[in-house]
């Protein structure tokens, strides 16, 4: 009996060593087209009991919620971040990742689906699913995998006695942005409806600057949402008041651009204002995805 155990352990060690060699020799994942700068280092930040944020990699903030029946994650960054996300999750729990709630379809939030979909159930809005299937993000990889389970208004997850709610409140960054709420912890993950940058409106993906402040009003007016802490899509963990400030700034940007458009300014003129006042670089995604749509929407 004891000898069998030793043999088994030895065999196990050999297998692990083999796996390690295979793992470390695997070529790294392809770089996302949008990434040019060196990616930010990964950080694992504790937000509350059993809730962590993984930032870094120049991709969306991942939330990690640990239960005694598995981990619920929010977003999974780019495909090439799979190993680093997994390593960070393993730092705080041995539980397997069971569910991933996607805030939206962009490759810096859902690109990891390609790796995670075989081991976790991925859930997104129906529109986020369609955005991936129809390849609405021009600079996304061609082989992105959408969620198998989608929802239109709300889906709730119950795992290990804990609850997480994902809800759609309307258009903004895209036409399929979900907010993920952790009721026991009073924490809200906003996806890219709130970031440390100015609003990036993905008009080809159904986004709308006109709707953006209204959608955030619906979030803040939802009496079933009682939250203090906000995890933005990108940037540092914030407070509810910061979300309100972001909403007001989005409204100011909307008002500013609308007045320019209604004065009959050309797209080039508006572009110059956006660069001067909002630091939108001439080759930025804002200029590519947002500006043409704003010119039409804000007439």
């Amino acid at each position: 009996m004891k000898r069998t155990l030793v043999v088994r352990l030895f065999a196990g060690l050999l297998a692990l060593a083999g796996a390690w060699v295979a793992y470390t020799q695997t070529p790294q994942g392809k770089q996302a087209p949008a990434q040019t700068k060196a990616p930010a280092p990964f950080n694992l930040i504790k937000i509350a009991d059993d809730l962590y944020v993984i930032d870094g990699g120049g991709a969306g903030n991942v939330a990690v919620y640990i239960t005694n029946e598995g981990v619920i994650m929010v977003d999974d960054k780019f495909e090439q971040h799979f190993d680093e996300i997994m390593a960070n999750v393993k730092k705080v729990t041995n539980q397997p990742v069971k569910y991933i709630l996607s805030t939206h379809y962009h490759a810096d939030h859902s690109g990891g689906n390609t790796r995670w979909s075989s081991i976790a159930e991925i859930i997104s809005t129906r529109n986020a699913h369609d955005g991936i299937v129809q390849h609405k993000q021009s600079n996304a990889p061609n082989d992105m995998i959408p969620a198998r389970v989608t929802f239109t208004q709300e889906t709730d997850l119950f795992l290990g006695g804990k609850e997480v709610r994902a809800r759609y409140y309307g258009r903004g960054h895209t036409n399929g942005d979900a907010f993920v709420y952790f009721p026991a912890l009073k924490v809200l993950h906003t996806g890219d409806m709130f970031t440390s940058a100015t609003p990036l409106i993905d008009y080809p993906g159904g986004g709308s600057l006109l709707e953006w402040p209204k959608t955030l009003d619906s979030v803040m007016g939802d009496k079933s949402l009682d939250f203090d802490t906000v995890i933005p899509g990108h940037g540092p963990v914030s407070k509810k008041a910061d979300l309100l400030t972001y909403r007001n700034n989005a409204q100011k940007m909307l008002t500013r651009v609308r007045s320019l458009v209604r004065q009959g300014k050309s797209q080039d003129d508006v572009a110059k204002v956006m660069t001067a006042e909002y630091k939108w670089a001439p080759d930025s995604l804002n200029m590519q995805w947002s500006l043409p749509g704003m010119m039409t929407e804000l007439k």
């Binding site: 129906r126 699913h129 198998r148 389970v149 929802f151 119950f158």
Partner: protein, 289 residues
């Protein structure tokens, strides 16, 4: 074109025939889960390409086969679990990946306990809340409020909530490529069995079916009873819509409970179910408000 149609119609007719035989041969008197014999008695029959109905014990199950796994609607009683697996094995080797529960009742969710470790079970939030409240086994991990869509093996299934009826958490499951609807018990042929303890409503049942009928389907797999055509659910909706008004006026005219009971049991047999008479006091109480 017309030959294709004829072939399809014959296929449907045969499927309907099989379903009817399965249905009528199922042992009667099985309304109450507590009185169940432990021996499963089910038949699987093909309704369309890759879509089958398992009819017999408890609520009807629907089986949708994809090349990435099976989507199952409702899973009968707990003692039917192995038989459901066996029946599915007779048509595919694919594993059951998703189980969609149309509502909380044990004749539709009884085998959840068996499938929960290996499949994702999905229901409305209200159905789950009711199961938790009733301390029912096999409570699912994933719920939705309005609509959830499952995409598996290039196939799509839509699950939608349209409002109260049998309970306050009845979902219908729609197979758009096949124009087939699994109605759950808001379309069961033993209606209107209003479960007031779990949020059901006679008053809203018709309006709920109005919503369901906005879906584009030809075939209905009801929660109980044989596979039917769309017209079956239209007739069902019409009766459900007329009944409240009829009952309200009879109550106001001071008609006896027996007279009112006759209204339920005399509508072409559609509502001929002892549940109606048993629940008449509750139904009348709801409709008076």
């Amino acid at each position: 074109m017309s030959r294709t149609l004829l072939v399809r119609l014959s296929a449907v007719a045969i499927a309907l025939g099989c379903a009817w035989v399965a249905y009528t041969q199922a042992p009667q008197g099985k309304q109450d889960g507590k009185q169940q014999a432990k021996q499963p008695n089910n038949m699987i029959s093909k309704v369309a390409d890759d879509l089958y109905a398992i009819i017999g014990d408890g609520g009807n199950s629907t089986v949708y086969v994809t090349n990435e796994g099976v989507i199952l609607v409702d899973d009968k009683f707990e003692y039917d679990g192995q038989d459901i697996v066996d029946k599915i094995k007779s048509v595919t080797n694919q594993p059951i990946k998703y189980v969609l529960n149309t509502h909380l009742h044990g004749d539709h969710t009884g085998s959840n306990v068996r499938f929960l470790p290996t499949a994702e079970i999905i229901a409305t939030k209200n159905a789950r809340d009711n199961m938790v409240k009733n301390k029912a086994p096999g409570v699912m991990r994933v719920v939705f409020t309005d609509e959830t869509d499952i995409y598996l093996g290039s196939k799509e299934v839509r699950m939608k909530y349209y409002g109260r009826g049998h309970t306050n958490g009845d979902a219908v499951v729609y197979f758009p490529a096949l124009r087939i609807l699994a109605s759950g018990d808001i379309g069961a042929n033993n209606g209107p069995n209003v479960d007031y303890a779990n949020g059901g409503s006679m008053k809203e049942w018709g309006a709920t079916l109005d919503g369901v009928l906005k879906l584009d389907f030809d075939t209905v797999i009801p929660g109980h009873g044989p596979v039917a055509k769309r017209q079956y659910l239209i007739d069902y909706r019409d009766v459900a819509t007329k009944l409240p008004a009829t009952v309200i006026s009879m109550v106001r005219e001071g008609k006896s409970k027996d007279d009112i009971a006759k209204v339920f049991t005399m509508n072409g047999g559609l509502w001929a179910n002892p549940n109606v008479v048993n629940k008449l006091d509750q139904i009348m109480a709801e409709l008076k408000n």
